[in-house]
């Protein structure tokens, strides 16, 4: 018997993964398709399409999409600036270190930093009001809203983009630029015909990763808005705490919906990733 000793080395890992990742998730997945008596039903999934749950998913998707797109483009711009912009070398390494920190700076401290900046008594709010006479709250801005949450999420989205995309930009071979120049391409043509098509898959892949990253986040939003902004993770949090929907299986269905969306996003991510790896070795 050769096989068992071979597999013994990875058994603890698979037991751990099964017990604490896969089975708990499967339990919820199956629960989403059962009623209280344990019979198979689609009723919970259908119930997801009630007005307030759809609204929660919609605002979650909007915030995740907006913050991932803004984060991605801003992150790309910063990455190109520090890698190709001819800035001093220390700026590049300082930016990368800072990005590592900021991409992990989420949750309550981040929420509070933005309350201190753009809250009703925040530094920027007050400065704008006293220096320029611009009262952003009078103009409809509110930190506890879609845009407020998006601006806050961007704080960890941009650095994550920078951390992931800088190696991809580094992977652009010098020879490609030289070859393009030899063939008489202008700088603009080089970017349009060579750089953008090569970077495109890793860029799109990272956008999706950022999307999933924002979609599952709860602590930042909860600290920022309490339960006044009804995003999916906060709805699920309230459901786990106190069965606010008065239907345990509907809670499972919400969890199922979250995994469905992040899972779908990640399938696209893997697909784009394999496409980009062909070029960037």
């Amino acid at each position: 018997m050769r096989l068992p000793t071979q597999w013994l080395g990875v058994t603890p890992f698979f037991i751990f993964a099964l017990m604490f990742l896969i089975l708990p998730t499967l339990y919820l997945m199956l629960g989403a398709f059962q009623n209280d008596a344990g019979e198979f039903t689609f009723a919970n999934i259908v119930a997801l399409f009630s007005a307030n749950i759809v609204a929660a998913y919609w605002i979650s998707i909007k915030v995740s999409l907006a913050s991932s797109l803004i984060g991605a483009f801003a992150g790309l711009a910063i990455a190109i600036a520090i890698v190709r912009g001819g800035l001093p070398n220390w700026i590049r390494s300082a930016t990368l270190t800072f990005s590592g920190v900021a991409s992990n700076f989420a949750g309550v401290p981040l929420a509070f930093a933005f309350i201190a900046t753009l809250g009703r008594l925040g530094l920027v709010t007050v400065l704008l009001n006293t220096l320029v006479g611009l009262n952003i709250y009078a103009h409809g801005f509110n930190l506890l809203s879609f845009w407020g949450l998006t601006i806050t999420y961007v704080y960890f989205q941009i650095p994550l983009m920078v951390v992931i995309i800088v190696p991809a930009i580094d992977g652009l071979k010098k020879e490609w630029g030289e070859a393009a120049a030899t063939l008489g391409a202008t700088q603009a043509q080089y970017w349009r015909i060579v750089v953008i098509p090569v970077l495109w898959p890793s860029f799109l892949g990272t956008v999706i990763l950022l999307f999933a990253n924002a979609f599952g986040a709860i602590a930042t939003a909860y600290a920022l808005t309490g339960s006044s902004l009804n995003i999916v993770p906060i709805l699920l949090y309230a459901q786990i705490r106190g069965d606010v929907l008065h239907n345990a299986h509907l809670g499972y269905a919400i969890a199922f919906g979250m995994i469905f969306i992040t899972g779908l996003a990640n399938i696209f991510y893997i697909w784009f990733r394999t496409r980009s790896e062909r070029w960037l070795k």
Binding site: G86, I91, F112, T117, I158, G216, I259
Partner: protein, 263 residues
């Protein structure tokens, strides 16, 4: 190219403004506790608060156990996959990436339903069990980072030769992993450990839903009830994250770059 450099500066400075203004605002706010003058009163109040000390200590201990559990699970697995079961690599990598797909709140929801006090495995029936489940949950959350760090470390050493040399000298599997492989990937393991620490120390969702007296829920509660103390704590949290990331950077300078014969 001149204009390119100009725009690079513009982009960089805009980015720097976006990232530094909230930090400056938070620092400024944290110093305003005493009326009219800047002072460190908020920090003194926070650091002297017994609840802060208790929850922070709790989270540090949980983080240490999380790191130990993570190392215990990841190092032998990654080693064995490299040495004997490379055909399992895609499956193991897929599993280690699952915590990025399944949000933490869903994982902990599953725990609550599966390991409640009436279940066959009643983790949540006792304090110790609930603490253990928190450590397990965090180890699951940190799995993608830990695995990636350790696997990168293993890539730079010659696993096969080291193993064979140890075997010739009569070492068993436990000795090989603990005394030959682990010391060789220690720097990679440590960078995974600091990242784990940064993630665990202020984590809110799991700690809160498992009702653990951790730092994250304490912070959350403080934001809702106080004005200046949360600002001080936010700065402290930022400094801790910064410390962890700097240590990773410093460690990476000591890491070996490549093996003589990469496998």
């Amino acid at each position: 190219m001149k204009s390119g450099k100009f725009w690079a500066w513009v982009v960089f400075l805009l980015g720097a403004a976006y990232f530094f203004i909230p930090l400056i605002a938070t620092i400024e706010f944290s110093l305003r506790m005493r009326r009219g003058v800047y002072s460190f009163d908020a920090y003194k109040v926070v650091l002297g608060d017994s609840q802060f000390q208790a929850t922070f200590l709790f989270s540090v201990v949980v983080a240490i156990f999380t790191i130990l559990l993570g190392v215990l699970i990841v190092v032998p697995t990654a080693y064995w996959i490299r040495l004997r079961l490379p055909q399992l690599r895609p499956i193991v990598e897929f599993i280690t990436l699952l915590p990025l797909v399944i949000p933490a709140i869903v994982i902990v929801f599953g725990y609550i339903r599966m390991y409640g006090s009436n279940s066959p495995l009643p983790f949540l029936g006792s304090n110790l069990g609930a603490n253990a489940l928190l450590v397990i949950g965090y180890a699951a959350l940190a799995l993608p980072y830990m695995y990636r760090a350790v696997d990168t470390g293993l890539r730079t050493i010659d696993v096969r030769t080291l193993t064979e040399a140890a075997q010739i000298l009569g070492a068993g599997w436990g000795t090989i992993v603990a005394r030959v492989i682990l010391p060789n990937v220690l720097i990679a393991v440590l960078s995974g450990a600091f990242l784990t620490f940064a993630i665990v120390i202020g984590e809110f969702t799991m700690a809160s839903l498992l009702n653990r007296p951790a730092f994250g829920p304490y912070l959350q509660n403080l934001v809702a009830n106080r004005a200046y103390e949360p600002a001080a704590l936010s700065i402290i949290a930022f400094v801790i994250t910064w410390g962890c990331m700097s240590l990773i950077q410093i460690l990476s300078r000591f890491a070996p770059k490549s093996a003589n014969r990469p496998n």
